[in-house]
Amino acid sequence: MRLPLFWLTDYVDPGMDASKLAARLAMTGTEVDRVHTHGVSALENFVVGRVLEREQHPDADRLSVCQVAIGEGDVSTIVCGAPNVAAGQTVGVALPGSVMPDGTRLKKAKLRGVPSNGMILAEDEVGIGSDHAGIMVLDDDLVPGTPLAQVLPISTDVLELEITPNRPDCLSVYGVAREVHAATGAPLNPPPWMEDPGTPGPVEGVTVEVQDAEFCPRFTARLFEDVKIGPSPRWLKARLMAAGQRPINNVVDITNYVMLLTGQPLHAFNFDLVAGGKLVVRRAGQGEQMTTLDDQVRTLDSSMHLIDDGEGPTSIAGIMGGQRSEVREDTTRVLMEAANWHGPTLQRTSQKLGLRTEASGRFEKGLPPEQSMWGTIVATQLMLELTGARLAPGTIDVGGEGPAPKTIRLREEKVTRLLGTAVPIREQADILEALEFDVHDAGDGLDVTVPAFRRNDVTREVDLIEEVARIWGLEKLPATIPGHGMSARLTPEQRLRRRAGDALVGAGFSEAIGWSFQAPEMARRLRIDDSAVKLRNPLSEDLAVMRTTLLGSLLTSVRHNTARGAEDVRLFEKGSVYFDRPHRREPTAAEARSTPLPDERMHLAALMTGRIRPASWGDGNPPTADFFAAKGVLETVLGALRVDFTVVRGADPFLHPGRAARVLVGGEDAGWLGEIHPGVAAEFGLARVAGFELDFGAVLPHAVVAPHYEDLTSFPAIRQDLAFWVPADRTASELVEVVRGAGGKLLKDVRVFDVYAREGQTSLAVRLEFRAGDRTLTDDEISPQREKIVKAVAEKLEGELRG
C-alpha cells in the first residue's frame, strides 16, 4: 500500500522525515519496502507564472510563443504546445534546470527556430493528475515567482508499505495514522467519519434485500440526486495520484479516495439503471453468467453471490460490478454502496473466477461491518462537497455492526514469562490505549477490550502480548540462551550420509543438486515406466512429475557441463525420489485418515564421463571412465560406510546390456551399477557415461557404525597366488565363492588380481590371504587347504590350475 505523507499528516504528524518514520514503522511491525518521492524531487525552478502575451509560432500551427512573468520583474519566452494557453492565465512553470519527475533535466531549447526558456506545466507533468490535454490554469490571485510547491502538492514522500494479512485495517491512510500515533506518540486527529451529514431511516424508492446474511453481514447505501459528473479537484487528484490510483471522474474518484482513506471499498451504481430501484444479494445459480465491467462473460456457480436488480445480475458481490449500471458522463442519480462480505467465501469465489480486484483483496481478509458505515459517511461528505449532489433522506442499512467487543485478561506475569523481561504495567496500558484498546486495571494485570477494527486479529492474551511487545520495543529484549542442559548429535544415518558424500568428494566427484520435478518425457528418454507422482498444477510441462530416479537430473547436469566444454565430468547427487505407491512407514493419525502419501526414498547417485584422471606430460592418455571405474567408486563409497555388497548382472533398460549390474547389500537389492546405454546417453548428447545409484534406505542399515576390534597385527598373514583356467562363461565372483568355500577358516581374503582370456577360457588369478589369530601359520598348514581349493575349482567350475 502506498502512503503519501502529505495525506497522512491530515491525521497525524509524526514530526520526522520519511526515512526516520519508515525505520520506526519497520521496528513496530509495519514493513516499509521502499520510500520514494512522488512528483518532483528537486523543487527549485518550479514557480508560479503569468502569461503576459501569447502569439502564434511563425512556423508551427500548434505552437504558441508566450511571454511569461516569472517573478521579480523577469519575463521569459516560453514556447508552449497546449491548445488552451492564453494571455492572462496564471500557470505553473518549470524553468531551465528543473528536474522533471521522470529524471530529465529541462534545458533552454529552440523550438522551430524560437528560443524557449522553460515549460508551462500540465497536471501529469508534475504527477498531480492524469490530464495532458492542456496546461493547468491556477487561481489568478497567485503571485508570479511564488515557488510552485507552496500552491500545489507537486512533491511528496510516499512510503510503500507491506501490510501483513492480519492487518487489513492498515490498508488505509487512517489505519496507518493510528499505527504512527502508537509508534511515535504524535497526537492523532479524530477519524473523518465523526460527522455524518446523513440521516437514518428508509430511502424512498430504494429497497435492498439480503438473502444470505452470513455472506453479507452488512449492506449500507445512500442515494444522491442531481449529481454532476466532472473532474475532481486538484487536491483529490493529487492524493490519488500519489497513492498510485488514476483519477477518472469525481464519483469514481470518491469511491477510490474513501477506500484508500478508510479501508472500505465502495460501489457506485447509476441508480437510473438499477431496474426497479431494488437490489437483491443472493446466491448465484449453477452455471449462471454475467458480463462484468471489464467486458468479460463470467460463469458462476452456486457457491458465489450476485447482486440483482429488477432485471437480473448487476454485479458479482464484493468483486466487480457489471456494465449495465456503470456510472457514466450523464449519470445524475448515484446509489453509493458500502457493504461487508464474508472474507473466506469471497476469496474462494475470487480464486475460482481468477478475478481479484482491489476491493476483493480487501474483503477477503475480513473487514469489520462497522467500517461500512464509516465509508458511507465519508463518501456522503465528499459527494455533497464535490459533485453538487443532494442527499436523499435516509440510509439503507441491512444487517448491522459486528459482535460485541471482546474483553481479554492480560496477566502481568504472563507478559514477563513470554518475553523474558518485564514491561511496566503502566507502559502496557499506555501502549494498548494508544492502539485504541480499552484498558482497565484487573487483579493480576489488565482487562483489555478490543476495538472493532482489530476484532479478527486480537482474540487471545498472547495477541495482546504481541501488541505490547512490538510497540514497547523488541530491541529492549535480552539475548539469552536456554539452559536446557541437553546434548545433541547427528543420527547414525545422518553421519553415514555425510560420510558417503565426503567419500565421493575424495574420489573426485562434485555434488550436484538437481530438480525434484521433471518432464513426463524424461521417463521415455530413460526407457523406464516407474509410477511417478504427478503435480496437479505444475509450473510448466517440463516440471510436471516428481522424479523416480536421480539419473535424469544427473545426466542433465553432466550434459550442462559437457555442453560448456568440460570433458571430464564426475558428479554425484544425494536426494529424494518419489514413487506413486503408499509409503511403508507406520502412518500417523492424520495420515491414517488421508490420501496415502507417496513412497519417498533418499537416493545417492554418481556419474562419470571422460578421463578418470587428468592427462599430463607424463601420461598423455589416461583411461576413460567405464564400468570398472564406476565400480571402483562404488567400492570406495561402500567401503567408507563399511558396507559389504555384491553385484550381479543386471538388465536395467537405461544401461548397456553387457555392462549392467544390480548392487546387493545384505542380499537385498540396493541399486544399479553400470555404463549408461549408448542410446540413452546419446539422448543427452553424451558419449560413454558410467555410474551407479543406491537407495540409502537399503544400504545404511547394513553399515558397521561401531566396529569391534579384530587382531590383525599380532601374527602375520601368509599370502599365496593361484591362477586358474576356467570356462569363459564362469564369472570372477563364482570363482571367488568356490575358493572361499573350500579354503577353510584360515582363509581370510580372496581377491582377483589378474584376468586373461583365450579361446573359450579365462584365466583368473587370485590372491589368497591366510591368517590365524593365535599363531604364525606355516606353509605345512596351508598346503592341504590349497589342494582342497584346486580340487574344488576343478570339480565345480571345470577349472584347472594354470602352469
Binding site: 472474507g343 477477503e364 523488541l474 530438480w515 503435480l535 500417523t588 492424520a590 584422471r613
Partner: protein, 353 residues
C-alpha cells in the same frame, strides 16, 4: 715358518692393500678382489695348501695368511662402500629433471554443493546448541503443512498459485514447518530440533526457484522466552557470519507464531550502510541490516493439535524459526542468481564446498 713365506704374506697384503686403496671404481675393486682373494689367488692358495707344510709351519703360516686375508677383505668391503657412495652420487648427479614441469596429477578432490556445505554449517551450529536434526517427507499432507500450523482454510498460501498439489489433501510442502507438529506428535516436551530440507513453491525468477531449502527450528520447554529466541539466533548469526554480528528482531506476522518476528543481522559487508568507496552497500541497501529469517513464539493453538503428546498451552512455551539455506549461502558467498544453485555448473561448484 720360513722367513720367505712370512715376507711373501706381508708383501701380498701390502700389495693388496695398496691396490684396494687405488681402486677407482667398484668394477676395478672387483677385479682386485678376484686377483688377491679369488679362488685362484695366491693368498687363498697358501691357506688351502697349509696342510702340505711341515707340521711346525702349519700354525704360523695358517694364522699369518688368515689374518692377511681378513684384513684384505675388510679393506675391500670398506672401499666398496666408499666407491658405491661415490658412484651413487655420480649417477644421481646425471639424473636431473626439469623441476619446473607440472606434477603428475592425481584425481582432484571434488566439492560438496554450496547448499550442502551451508546446510552442514548450520546443522553443526545448532547441534552444538543442543538441537537434534530431524527430517520429514517433502510430499506431505495439507494438514501438516497448513491446518495444524494454524492457517485458516482460506489462507491464500494454500491457493494453487502458491502451493503445488498432488491430491486435494496432499501437497509438496511449502515450508519445513510441517515437521513441527509431526515431531511434537512423536516426542513429548522438552523438544529442541532443527529440520533441514527441500521445500517447494510455484515461483521462478532470479530470487525465487520452485524448489529451495529451509532449516526450521523448534524449541518447546516450560519457560522459553522471546529473549531465548533472540539469544539462540544471535549465537547462530555470529557462528555463521562472524563474531562481530548483532541481531535485531522486527515484529512481523506468521500464522503459527505469536508474537512473530523477523530477524535481521547487522551487515557484514559495509560500515553503517556504506562501502569503503562511499557508495551505498548493495547487500543491505544502505540500511546496515539484512533480513535473514522469520521466527516467533509458538502459537499456543499449535499445542492443541498435540495435546495427546503432553503439550499444554498454559505450561509450555517455545519458539520456532525458518530460514532459507539459499539465502544464507547467497549472503555469505554472493551468488547472484538463485537459479545457478541448480544448474550444477562445475565452474560454480568448484568455487565452494
Amino acid at each position: 715358518m720360513s722367513t720367505a713365506t712370512a715376507d711373501r704374506i706381508a708383501a701380498l697384503r701390502a700389495e693388496g692393500e695398496a691396490a684396494v686403496a687405488a681402486a677407482a671404481s667398484t668394477a676395478d675393486l672387483e677385479e682386485i678382489r678376484v686377483r688377491f682373494l679369488g679362488r685362484k689367488a695366491e693368498l687363498p692358495n697358501l691357506l688351502r695348501d697349509v696342510g702340505k707344510l711341515p707340521p711346525e709351519e702349519r700354525g704360523p703360516v695358517g694364522k699369518g695368511a688368515n689374518q692377511a686375508r681378513q684384513a684384505l677383505q675388510a679393506a675391500v668391503d670398506a672401499r666398496q662402500a666408499e666407491l658405491e657412495a661415490v658412484e651413487l652420487e655420480q649417477r644421481l648427479a646425471a639424473d636431473v629433471v626439469d623441476v619446473t614441469l607440472p606434477g603428475t596429477p592425481v584425481t582432484p578432490a571434488g566439492h560438496l554443493h554450496i547448499l550442502t556445505a551451508t546446510r552442514r554449517e548450520i546443522e553443526d551450529v545448532f547441534v552444538g546448541l543442543g538441537f537434534s536434526v530431524v527430517e520429514g517427507p517433502e510430499i506431505d499432507l495439507a494438514y501438516y503443512n497448513f491446518d495444524a500450523l494454524n492457517h485458516d482454510p482460506s489462507h491464500p498460501a494454500r491457493s494453487l498459485a502458491d502451493t503445488f498439489y498432488v491430491a486435494d489433501d496432499v501437497v509438496l510442502r511449502t515450508q519445513t514447518s510441517p515437521m513441527q507438529v509431526r515431531q511434537m506428535e512423536l516426542q513429548p516436551p522438552p523438544l529442541y530440533i532443527i529440520v533441514p530440507g527441500r521445500v517447494y513453491r510455484p515461483d521462478n525468477d532470479a530470487t525465487h526457484t520452485p524448489q529451495f531449502h529451509q532449516v526450521e527450528g523448534l524449541a518447546v520447554d516450560e519457560n522459553l522466552t522471546l529473549g531465548d529466541l533472540q539469544g539462540t539466533l544471535l549465537a547462530f548469526a555470529r557462528a555463521i557470519f562472524g563474531d562481530d554480528r548483532e541481531v535485531r528482531l522486527r515484529p512481523h506476522f506468521f500464522p503459527f507464531t505469536e508474537p512473530s518476528v523477523e530477524l535481521d543481522v547487522s551487515c557484514f559487508n559495509c560500515k553503517q550502510g556504506f562501502l569503503k568507496d562511499g557508495s551505498r552497500c548493495p547487500l543491505c541497501k544502505g540500511t546496515s541490516w539484512i533480513e535473514i529469517l522469520g521466527a516467533g513464539m509458538v502459537d499456543p493453538n499449535l499445542y492443541g493439535y498435540v495435546a495427546e503428546s503432553g503439550y499444554d498451552p498454559e505450561r509450555h512455551q517455545g519458539f520456532a524459526w525458518g530460514m532459507g539455506i539459499e539465502r544464507i549461502a547467497f549472503l555469505k558467498h554472493g551468488v547472484p542468481d538463485l537459479r545457478m544453485f541448480f544448474e550444477n555448473d562445475l565452474r560454480l561448484l568448484e568455487q565452494f564446498g
